[in-house]
């Protein structure tokens, strides 16, 4: 199964980024093989609609789940429409989170944070 983790860097050992729309990067991981690919999140610097663009990016990659910290209302709408599960980060690095996800130990999120929550925050 292909999933993605919002991250501050582009490796399996990178730290997670709490922000979804304005995450620095997304690390896409094939859970069976642990093969991964990282993509910089171009939406991180946009003046508006970052969550929508980030959700479009991960939906285009056909992932089944997103592991992240906080998701805003617009991003949540897109992820729900794409039928992508959203899971709250439970550890510091990308790899640890994927391991926890495989064991079914991450909490599923259905609540959003307010719009613009990730703007200017790190």
């Amino acid at each position: 199964m292909k999933i993605t983790v919002s991250a501050t860097g582009n490796t399996m050992d990178s730290q997670i980024d709490q922000r979804f729309g304005r995450a620095a990067a997304f690390v896409f991981v094939e859970t069976d093989t642990m093969d991964f690919e990282a993509i910089d999140n171009a939406a991180a610097a946009s003046s508006g609609g970052a969550g929508i663009a980030a959700a479009q990016l991960v939906a285009d990659k056909d992932v089944k789940a997103v592991i992240t910290g906080n998701v805003g209302p617009n991003a949540m709408n897109v992820l729900n429409a794409a039928n992508i599960g959203i899971y709250k980060v439970g550890a510091l690095t990308v790899k640890e989170n994927v391991e926890l996800f495989k064991k079914g130990e991450l909490e599923r999120i259905s609540k959003t944070v307010p719009a613009h929550f990730g703007m200017g925050n790190k």
Partner: protein, 276 residues
């Protein structure tokens, strides 16, 4: 003559200065362009007679024609459209109404619908006007654009800007004949004044400064203006009486002929071009 009143920092006294000027002049038009929180009406007490909605055009999808290709999402500079599983999701409040999606759609599946984002209110003669953005809306420019279509050319026009020095302020001061920059002797006041000064200089607009809450013991603004060859138009002293009457929506010009005269004099000075 069109005079814009801006400040950079919020709360320095833009509305105090612009409403005082509009009140002091025998005949003038006051336009509140601070559409997120217009408050000039508190002081000028107009009788609002006219209401005009401000509408923008946002995209809508004809699902019969749409093939879910996703071009509209990729074309949108403002991330207002997502296409997932062949379904188009539009976020109208983020849309900047550029219609690129309409032009880009190969199936002609996108059309535009009107959407109201605010209202323009005016008194009977249009001598007082204000824009009001609906709560929750992020984009103010269409309201300011529409307000500026009603500027009078036969009497002085005073435009009260929003705080800051971003798009809304640029939109308001563009095409004006003169800018009054209102500031206060605080580190924030000076910091944001410098930003406002660089904006009006970049736009090539003549300007001068009003120091509000001026204090004898703090001459930082005067020093800055001296160093940069900037005219000081007026100083409004830091006084408890002024603050107290302000809290009752009263301006110095309401009760004092002397203050009224000072504002008229300032206008004459600006109009006569006796300021840089």
């Amino acid at each position: 003559m069109k005079i814009a009143v801006l400040s950079g920092k919020g709360g320095t006294g833009k509305t105090t200065v612009s409403a005082s000027l509009a009140y002091a002049l025998q005949s003038s038009q006051y336009i509140d362009c601070d559409v997120e929180e217009p408050n000039g009406a508190l002081f000028l007490k107009p009788l609002i007679k006219h209401f005009a909605p401000v509408n923008v055009r946002v995209p809508k999808v004809d699902e019969e024609k749409c093939d879910g290709c996703g071009i509209c999402s990729r074309i949108c500079r403002f991330n207002a459209i997502a296409v997932v599983k062949g379904k188009v999701l539009i976020f109208p409040e983020i849309c900047h109404h550029c219609a690129a999606c309409v032009i880009g759609c190969q199936q002609n599946a996108i059309f535009e619908v009107e959407r109201s984002i605010g209202v323009i209110e005016a008194d009977a003669k249009g001598r007082f006007m204000q824009g009001r953005l609906n709560i929750g809306e992020p984009i103010t420019l269409p309201i300011i654009k529409q307000l500026k279509q009603s500027l009078r050319s036969d009497i002085p026009v005073i435009l009260d800007c929003s705080p800051g020095a971003s798009c809304t302020v640029v939109q308001t001061i563009e095409g004006c004949d003169y800018c009054i920059l209102v500031t206060e002797p605080t580190p924030f006041g000076l910091h944001d004044l410098k930003i406002a000064v660089s904006l009006v200089r970049k736009m090539g607009l003549p300007f001068g400064i009003v120091i509000n809450k001026a204090m004898q013991e703090d001459q930082t603004i005067q020093t800055y203006c001296g160093q940069h060859n900037i005219d000081i138009l007026m100083e409004i002293p830091y006084k408890r009486e002024i603050a107290e009457s302000y809290s009752k929506a009263m301006l110095p010009v309401h009760t004092s002929e002397d203050w009224k005269y000072k504002f008229v004099q300032m206008y004459d000075r600006i109009k006569g071009g006796r300021v840089s």
